[in-house]
């Protein structure tokens, strides 16, 4: 089964064509993975560890199996193949292997005739635990050598010193991707011992590799299909229920569906690493950065997932979008019994951007400089070495241009108290205008594009000319970001026809597109579609000795020499491409080398209204100038910029998973708060087009960039409003008021 998305809309690159999945999503007709069903279907449910760290001393599935309607209970003993899975390092048991290492770790899964029975059966399994003290302090774990990666960067002269020195310690909380679509999977036996799996994923080929290893099956026995996905933001880069639903279907010989509810989703996927960062910035009297020293401790939680790559990204962007010749970074991804962390929009660069941008503001203050002037003075440009890895920057990097463009956006009008809901506190009516002060803050963020550090990063696409139009085949996951339109626009532009349909292939039909992450699909799958379209066009033109391909055939000197029917006389004509970006290399022992394929930069300016006495904030505006290389779909870019900023607002002022001794205290939307419409700032965007050295038409990926520097811009604005340094996100009322002001004794 393949999902075909056709579109009646026209338009090549540079136009804001509408998404074919837009209307179905708005009116509720889009089939998300959680909507899949079939005859004779069973439901799966998961029993999870109630402890962050415990030994499993008893596991008796008999009470569950004895329940009416229960068809299978599966534990780690039933895993036929490799007992462990993991994208980078295979270190996590499919189900609890005798020790639970985080709160909510899957212990057993049940298949039953209905959802309620499955859940009750999971709860009926007899389990006994011997709790063990959890390791919940990443610094202690690091001291004890419990780490996923320890990394150092040494560049330049360690003895270099600046005349102006600022030091700071910064923390970021655990952020959840909070995609609205929960984890879901649907397994259908093929009658020959194999399975078709419909999954929420960001990369079905890497899921497939892990699934067949754990199931001990041949690659062609398991086919992974993309299913309708409601957001990802990194949460679907790692396996959740994929192997479980497959095992239940194999055990019962029936279709099985699993869907996490909201609370289960909060424990069922990896999160953004909480971080603790110590920084020292040294500059000369003119404000030129002389040396940056940093120690980064990221808490990876219980299993590896993508912690190694996240940590490297964090470390390589320790200095941000600035030149600096002397850099010392020690970075650690600690292994603890806290919730496992992995990918989330920005992938490590979010945390260090917060730390380094706070430092740049402090440096500006120490030098009595304008915060933008110190950024301009040190702005990274093509031809400069990246401060950390030392690699010479190729392609475009308009750091100065984004700073200038965001500064030029007019500031909003002064405080408007006509509608009290637009003041801090919102509908709570807490804050009269007289209690409110305004602040403005800036930040700049830089990040790598696609995969780094020597990873063999490629994307496959197949472009097919048929008499009914062009098909673009890919296994790239459309998670809501809009890849579908980009693929269509590129193929239309090259092939000269608006009749382009994107066909989502399964893992048996096409090779990997790589992950829908790292801001990479516009460039990677877009690059593959571009190259395949060019290859197809040239093949057809050559075949018919023409000089041009138009909507209705091949032309030579302005005369048609072959119609589309004639081109396809022997069947559809196709071209397959495996696209790679410029080669990258593993860093040496000092973190040096050409580790990245390209960079993207953005600047944000936030305007906030703060009620300092109650510590309440309303983010009025977040404006941005974004480096995009080339704008393929301006409206889709605006969507990414606004959405990315919203996740940046969330981390700045409200989003945090509260974890106490390994236990998540707020795994619901009641208490894990994400911004509402009332919290959403107005956004003005400026798009900076300077073509990059690779990618279709010079385009860059911009999925992550808007989330990176929006957070520190907001924090800088709050700081500016209240005249006080802030050192952690989210900024809580207590941080604004100060603990001393909160001292009050109860009445006796």
């Amino acid at each position: 089964m393949t999902t075909r998305i056709t579109s009646g809309v026209k338009g090549g690159i540079g136009t804001s064509v509408l998404r074919p999945d837009g209307e179905p999503k708005v009116i509720g007709n889009f089939a998300y993975a959680s909507d899949l069903s079939s005859e004779n279907m069973l439901w799966g449910a998961t029993l999870r560890s109630p402890h962050a760290h415990a030994r499993l001393t008893k596991l008796d599935t008999a009470p569950a199996l004895a329940m009416a309607g229960v068809r299978a209970v599966v534990t780690q003993d039933d895993v036929p193949g490799e007992p462990l899975f993991g994208q980078e390092e295979q270190d996590q048991p499919v189900l609890c292997d005798g020790t639970a290492r985080y709160w909510g770790e899957p212990v057993a899964v049940v298949a039953a005739e209905d959802e309620e029975t499955a859940r009750r059966a999971a709860a009926a399994i007899l389990v006994e635990w011997e709790p063990v003290a959890p390791v919940d302090d990443p610094d202690r774990a690091a001291d004890e050598g419990s780490t996923f990666r320890e990394m150092k960067i040494r560049r330049g002269d360690e003895a270099a010193m600046g005349s102006v020195v600022v030091e700071g310690f910064y923390e970021t909380a655990t952020q959840d991707q909070a995609p609205l679509g929960p984890e879901a999977g649907f397994a259908i036996p093929d009658g020959e011992g194999g399975l078709d799996l419909y999954l929420t994923s960001q990369w079905i080929h890497v899921d497939h590799r892990q699934i067949i290893a754990c199931l001990d099956m041949e690659p062609d026995q398991i086919r992974c299909h993309p299913a309708g996905i409601g957001g990802a933001f990194g949460s679907r880069e790692d396996i959740s229920l994929h192997i479980h639903v497959a095992m239940l279907s194999l055990a019962t010989g029936r279709p099985v569906k699993m869907v996490y509810d909201r609370s289960e989703s909060f424990v069922g996927h990896v999160k953004r690493h909480p971080s603790r960062m110590w920084y020292r910035h040294e500059a000369d009297d003119e404000g030129n950065l002389v040396k940056v020293t940093a120690r980064l401790v990221f808490d990876g939680g219980a299993y590896a997932h993508t912690s190694r790559a996240v940590l490297a990204n964090a470390a390589f962007f320790t200095v941000g979008a600035y030149r600096c010749d002397n850099v010392v970074v020690d970075a650690i991804a600690a292994k603890t019994n806290n919730p496992p962390c992995g990918a989330m929009r920005g992938f490590g660069a979010v945390q260090t951007c917060f730390g380094s941008e706070m430092q740049m503001d402090r440096l500006a203050e120490a030098l009595d400089m304008d915060p933008l002037d110190i950024r301009r003075r040190n702005a990274l440009a093509p031809g400069d070495p990246l401060a950390t890895s030392g690699q010479i920057i190729e392609g475009s990097l308009p750091t100065l241009a984004v700073i200038d463009a965001v500064e030029a956006i007019p500031l909003p009008d002064p405080l408007d108290d006509d509608d009290p809901r637009l003041l801090p506190g919102g509908t709570g009516l807490t804050s009269p205008a007289s209690s409110v002060v305004r602040g403005v803050g800036y930040a700049v963020g830089v990040k790598n594009l696609a995969f780094s550090e020597g990873f063999d990063d490629f994307a496959e696409a197949r472009v097919v000319m048929t008499t009914a139009g062009v098909e673009v085949h890919t296994a790239a996951m459309e998670v809501g970001q809009g890849l579908v339109t980009v693929c269509q626009q590129i193929a239309r532009t090259i092939l000269g026809t608006d009749q382009v349909a994107v066909v989502w292939d399964d893992t048996s039909q096409i090779g990997s597109a790589g992950s829908t992450s790292a801001s990479r699909q516009t460039q990677m799958t877009g690059g593959a579609v571009h190259a395949a379209s060019v290859g197809l066009r040239d093949r057809i033109i050559t075949e018919h000795e023409g000089d041009e391909l138009r909507e209705d055939g091949v032309y030579r000197n302005g005369d048609r020499v072959a119609t589309i029917a004639e081109i396809c006389a022997n069947g559809p004509v196709e071209y397959h491409e495996r696209f790679r970006h410029p080669e990258t290399f593993e860093p040496d022992e000092n973190g040096q080398g050409d580790v990245h394929a390209g960079l993207v930069v953005a600047a944000h300016r936030a305007v906030v209204d703060v009620d300092p006495e109650l510590g309440l904030v309303r983010v009025i505006r977040v404006d941005t100038a974004q480096d995009v290389g080339k704008a393929l779909n301006p409206q889709a870019i605006t969507g990414q910029l606004e959405g990315g900023i919203m996740q940046g607002v969330g981390l700045a002022v409200m989003e945090q998973l509260v974890v106490d001794r390994g236990v998540i205290k707020n795994p619901t939307f009641t208490d894990y708060l994400i911004p509402t419409f009332v919290d959403a700032p107005d956004v003005e965007t400026r798009i900076i087009e300077e073509g990059d050295h690779w990618g279709p038409f010079g385009a860059k990926g911009i999925g992550e960039s808007p989330t990176i520097s929006s957070t520190p811009a907001i924090v800088a604005a709050i700081s500016n409003a209240i005249g006080k340094d802030l050192t952690r996100v989210p900024v809580l009322p207590e941080d604004i008021i100060g603990n001393a002001a909160l001292e009050v004794a109860p009445l006796s």
Binding site: T430, V658, V678, P746
Partner: protein, 266 residues
């Protein structure tokens, strides 16, 4: 799960008399969350949605089935302000004041207003008929009330002399659709200033010592307000939990109370 959809109050009372363990369902905005989170699995539910008798709304009597959406437009000023802070438009269209009273959460958004208004809770059983319980005898602990198992909350009864100067405010961790960290209402009437707060004790509470202090003053100066705020902060009895800290709740209680006195004097 047995589901009983009562068509009128008598049917509901009969069902409740027969099934003491039955869970009452009005808007479902609290109950369904509890069920979805598997915190609560009632074996029997009595739905009150069709019970028109509970939906009457007048200044002196607010039917238990009156929704926040109606109170937002037609309620007393302070209650309307509180109603606006409840959840989203969908939640306000479904959730009722009776549910808020019955759940008796310390964070119930309508409860400080009931305390400041000196309102009573009217309840009814098939066997004993109606009785009216003063608010401070009705709310007895965290999610605990003096409602008997065969009783149904029928209305909030509001005294005729409830002051018209009413101002409400609520602090939460975002600017809308949020559970209260601290909520506060101030009323100004012939008897002086009344202050009630939510989320700062096991039940809604009046800041009686702060009221006594400010009502003993002939003029409300800045220093009087500061002292008043300080007493409110000291008088509340909050805890630290995953939503906020005791210290912040004390601080915010005083700030809100002071600001609301100022607002109600404007």
């Amino acid at each position: 799960m047995e589901f009983i959809a009562a068509n009128d109050l008598d049917e509901a009372l009969a069902a409740k008399a027969q099934h003491a363990d039955a869970q009452l369902l009005a808007g479902g905005t609290d109950l369904m969350v509890e069920i979805n989170l598997a915190h609560h699995r009632p074996t029997r539910v009595i739905s009150l949605r069709r019970v028109e008798d509970l939906k009457d709304l007048s200044p002196g009597r607010i039917g238990a089935g009156v929704t926040w959406a109606r109170l937002e437009r037609n309620g007393h000023q302070g209650l309307a302000q509180a109603a606006r802070t409840v959840g989203s438009p969908q939640i306000r269209a479904a959730g009722t004041i009776g549910g808020n009273v019955g759940m008796a959460s310390p964070a119930g958004d309508g409860l400080p207003w009931i305390a400041a208004a000196e309102a009573s809770i009217e309840v009814r059983s098939m066997e004993r008929g109606a009785r009216t319980i003063p608010w401070n005898e009705f709310f007895i602990g965290v999610k605990r009330t003096s409602l008997e198992t065969d009783e149904i909350i029928t209305a909030v009864v509001v005294p005729e002399d409830v002051p018209t100067a009413q101002e409400f405010a609520k602090v939460g961790a975002r600017n809308a659709m949020v559970i209260s960290t601290v909520s506060c209402i101030v009323m100004q009437g012939d008897d002086g200033v009344r202050v009630a707060l939510g989320s700062v004790a096991t039940t809604p509470m009046r800041a009686t010592r702060a009221e006594e202090m400010i009502n003993a003053e002939s003029t409300i100066s800045d220093s009087v307000l500061s002292e008043f705020a300080r007493i409110v902060s000291r008088e509340v009895r909050p805890i630290t939990d995953h939503r906020s800290t005791e210290a912040y709740r004390r601080h915010a209680s005083g700030v809100l109370a002071r600001r609301l006195v100022e607002r109600s004097l404007r």
